[in-house]
Amino acid sequence: MSEIPAPRVDPAERFLRRRTPIQRIHHVLHSYPALSPAVVLVLSAIAFAFLNPRFYAPANLSLIAQQVAVVGALAVGQTIIIMTAGIDLSVGAIMVFTAMVMAASASNYGLPGPVALVVGLVVGTLAGGLNGVLVTRLRLPPFIVTLGTLNIFIALTLLYSSGQAIQGPDIPAILLWTGEDISLGSFRITTGVLMMLALYVVFTYILRNTAWGRHVYAVGDDAEASRLAGIAVNRTLLSVYLVAGFVYALGAWILIGRVGAASPNAGTDANLDTITAVVIGGTSLFGGRGIIVGSLLGALIVGVFRNGLALAGVDVLYQTLVVGVLVIVAVATDQWIRRVRA
């Protein structure tokens, strides 16, 4: 076996290897996908502080954290589904359905709080699993499957609850625990916020350091190649939807704590909010690429923009308009970053 001599670098190759400043930026952004949302978050926070110094008041920052808690938690589930080149439109519907099941199990059926919580976690997981079964067994596109289950779970929620919210006094303490305040100096966050942050820590570890995490990326990157490499593609996909369902159930728990009630009408639009967070966070809608903490940054960016613009006295419609622009800019940036030289 002979050693191969170091390849001669052709002039053309040297031309291709040249690094203009733009290419250096491109390369860095490609290597660290969370960098661009992080930069946007820092720059926007600085800009809003100039517009209105009250932005930096601990009370305001605490408020942003609490506002972001539910969408941030749900975005964890949405992110792993999008990483498999899927999408979940039913995230908000599953969360609200699960929240109603949790609250009703306790208030209407008299189950003890912890049991009601476990029932909710199981129901949320199974609801996610239903999406997974339809995607893997019937081989329907995730968009269609979750469009269907979005409507199914909204309807089930309204049928089940007769459109009635369940108020705080009827809800056991453990379900409201996620709304409890924790004081960190002058910051006041809730246990729900901490739970959301813990989800990101756990999933960062799982995606980076376990075989399952690798397979989530690989399946989204190229499902057929993954199959030929010996990955059980359908089992991986099904597990992703089940795990996402469990995460949505935790989101439901955080929602009950945040609102102090379980309402059948609030939160079903979380699907678009989570997709927005995931996309702004740099995860590719084509699957296989992205980083979970980006979705937290994405959720925070939306929260900061809405809050900062409100403090600056900008009309809520313009806030929505700005979020729309952010999404388009984020996806355009993602497309540009993905264009690597082969």
Partner: protein, 264 residues
């Protein structure tokens, strides 16, 4: 080529049938691979080369027929079954995840975990060990042109990707390595490297099945050549006693090969 005599084939298939609706992929194909040889498999488009190889590698389940490994009947329901029997395949598509790095791709589907509690309870991957072994394997195969083992595969050239896929097969294949059209997308210099890799593998005692359209490549490295036509094996010839044009004649049906010495 030498007479195989009573040697037991490493892989043997008899009467393999595979249909896709009304389309016949394999029409009772036989197949033998003997220890220490490079077996070329040639055939026109639609002759059933890929289907045959997919059945042998567990990517497809034949409708009928028998596959034996070391004389023992086996049933490959999944790719993992064939792998467990020591059969590794490099598909034409290479089966690599472009966004993952080289080390991740080499260990895709059989990642190494850390020892102790970190591995068993926290399922933690051993990134360092996987990178080290991936680098060693590429080095052992003389593939030194890759800059970093943590490069994403999509940043590699076609030949480098091929090398990664072959290195993966060589690292895990304990019995047989199957290469499906390994030179189809490559330039002259890169093809030469792959052919040299094939000889290296054989010299290390690993038999290789080489499926290719490229007659010069097959005739350059193969010890025997299996010719597939219309879902059947029509001949097995020796490259030393058969010319490429004769092989093409059998492949296209212009000759039935009866006038040629059959190599077994």
């Amino acid at each position: 080529m030498t007479m195989s005599g009573q040697r037991v084939p490493i892989i043997e298939a008899t009467g393999l049938i595979k249909t896709f609706g009304s389309v016949v992929g394999l029409d009772g194909t036989d197949f033998e691979l003997y220890p220490g040889e490079v077996l070329g498999v040639i055939g026109d488009n639609g002759a059933g080369k890929s289907t045959l190889i997919k059945c042998l590698s567990g990517a497809m389940i034949p409708d009928a027929g028998e596959i034996r490994v070391d004389g023992q009947p086996v049933e490959f329901r999944r790719i993992q079954d064939a792998r467990a029997a020591g059969i590794e395949t490099v598909y034409q598509s290479l089966a690599v995840a472009p966004a993952l790095d080289i080390a991740a791709n080499m260990f895709l589907g059989r990642e190494l975990r850390r020892s102790g509690l970190l591995g068993s309870l926290f399922r933690m991957l051993d990134h360092g060990e996987m990178r080290r072994r991936a680098a060693d394997q590429l080095q052992a195969l003389g593939i030194g042109t890759i800059q970093s083992i943590t490069q994403a595969v999509e940043t590699l050239s076609g030949g480098q990707r091929q090398a990664v896929a072959v290195a993966r097969a060589a690292a895990f294949g304990s019995k047989v390595i199957i290469l499906d059209e390994p030179t189809a997308a490559l330039g002259v210099r890169e093809s030469g490297q792959v052919l040299r890799l094939i000889r290296d593998l054989r010299d290390r005692g690993l038999p290789v099945i080489l499926i290719s359209h490229n007659m010069p490549h097959v005739f350059e490295v193969a010890d025997r050549i299996h010719i597939q036509r219309l879902g059947r094996r029509v001949a097995v010839v020796s490259p030393s006693s058969t010319s490429p044009s004769d092989a093409v004649a059998i492949m296209t049906g212009a000759s039935d090969g009866s006038s040629l010495p059959i190599s077994r």
